[in-house]
């Protein structure tokens, strides 16, 4: 292995790990202000919104492709399908879709 590359990877690993680990120790046993707690509780739903959109539109060059996949996932999830049904279902719908269009 190229030692410079190994050093680079270790450096990348370190700067990635620090922000992942720090909050567990910085905020350990501390009661954050109610307002901040509220924000942190909102974060998961907001992150999901931002992770999904608009990224899902651009998974392939054809925007319709992403829309079809997202719609399939949304409908399956809305009907109460569990997460595997949603994932496999969306993949299946797109496999069929791309063999027709």
């Amino acid at each position: 292995m190229d030692s410079k590359l190994v050093l680079l990877i270790l450096g990348m690993g370190l700067v990635t790990y620090i922000p992942r680990m720090l909050p567990f120790f910085l905020f350990r046993g501390k009661e954050l202000p109610r307002f901040v707690q509220g924000i942190l509780k909102n974060v998961p739903y907001a992150t999901l919104g931002a992770l999904i959109f608009p990224g899902v539109l651009f998974i392939q060059e054809d925007i319709t492709y992403g829309i079809v996949g997202a719609a399939a996932a949304f409908i399956l999830a809305f009907m109460g399908g569990n997460i595997f049904v949603v994932i496999i279902g969306a993949i299946a719908v797109l496999t069929v879709y791309s063999s027709f269009f």
Partner: protein, 243 residues
């Protein structure tokens, strides 16, 4: 004592493993492609595996490959990685609020496995998040990421075109599958998700922010605005309910 701990944590570990399978599927095409690109960037298979094992962050690894191929210096690549991954701070801070009271050493270990995907799955869980659960969840996600990075490099070929394309939806489908049940329960959650998506669309389409930063800023703005509105409603003593 140790037995009592094990008795409680083994089912938690199993639940984590089960919850991680969706991520394992979703990482498969992304990791495979990473392996391919790493080979094209002249990394050998050990270096490819090492990067996936030590960094374990999809976007940053992709960016690093393109920077390496451009001949960018080590310091710039590490700095870019830091900037791309600093958003994990927000995810960990949020998960910390939900974390069970486990030994700090356990938390230090499972913190390594926090990604957009493992965070999303863990955060949508009912109740607290235990170390056993996080170990199970991370193990599946991490194994999928590392193993398929290696396989992508060794095979030097991706999936059949049609499957490669359709599997690109997997992680998005997972995010949608995680979000929708909560949307059905609570209008506030609809508001949060739509607001963050709208901010993210504005920031990325206007090229005002890179996509990594845009996700953090959109998330924070939506989370803060929603909380301000909630606080306002509380202060007005529930009058807002009747409007």
């Amino acid at each position: 004592m140790a037995e009592a701990v094990a008795e409680k944590s083994i089912p938690e570990f199993k639940r984590g493993v089960k919850a991680g399978i969706g991520i394992g599927i979703g990482y498969f095409p992304v990791a495979l492609t990473f392996g391919l690109l790493a080979k094209a960037t002249d990394l050998n298979v050990m270096e490819t595996l090492l990067m996936s094992m030590i960094v374990f962050a999809g976007a940053a690894q992709y960016i690093a490959l393109s920077l390496i191929s451009l001949g960018t210096g080590m310091f710039e690549i590490i700095l870019t990685t830091f900037i791309v991954n600093i958003r994990h701070f927000l995810l960990s801070a949020s998960l910390n609020e939900k974390a069970a009271d486990d030994h700090p050493a356990f938390k230090a270990v499972y913190a390594f496995g926090i990604t957009d995907e493992t965070f999303s799955v863990a955060a949508m869980r009912d109740g607290t998040v235990t170390a056993g659960y996080m170990f199970g969840l991370n193990l599946v996600a991490y194994s999928s990421w590392v193993v398929f990075s290696g396989i992508g490099h060794v095979l030097g070929a991706g999936l059949p075109q049609v499957l490669q394309e359709s599997m690109s939806v997997a992680l998005y489908a997972m995010f949608i599958g995680l979000l929708v049940p909560s949307l059905k329960k609570n209008v506030k959650i609809v508001f949060l998700a739509v607001l963050a998506a709208a901010f993210n669309t504005i920031f990325t389409m206007s090229e005002f922010l890179s996509s990594g930063w845009s996700i953090v800023v959109s998330t924070l703005l939506a989370a803060i605005l929603t909380e301000l509105i909630e606080t306002g409603k509380r202060l007005r003593g529930g009058r807002a309910d009747g409007q």
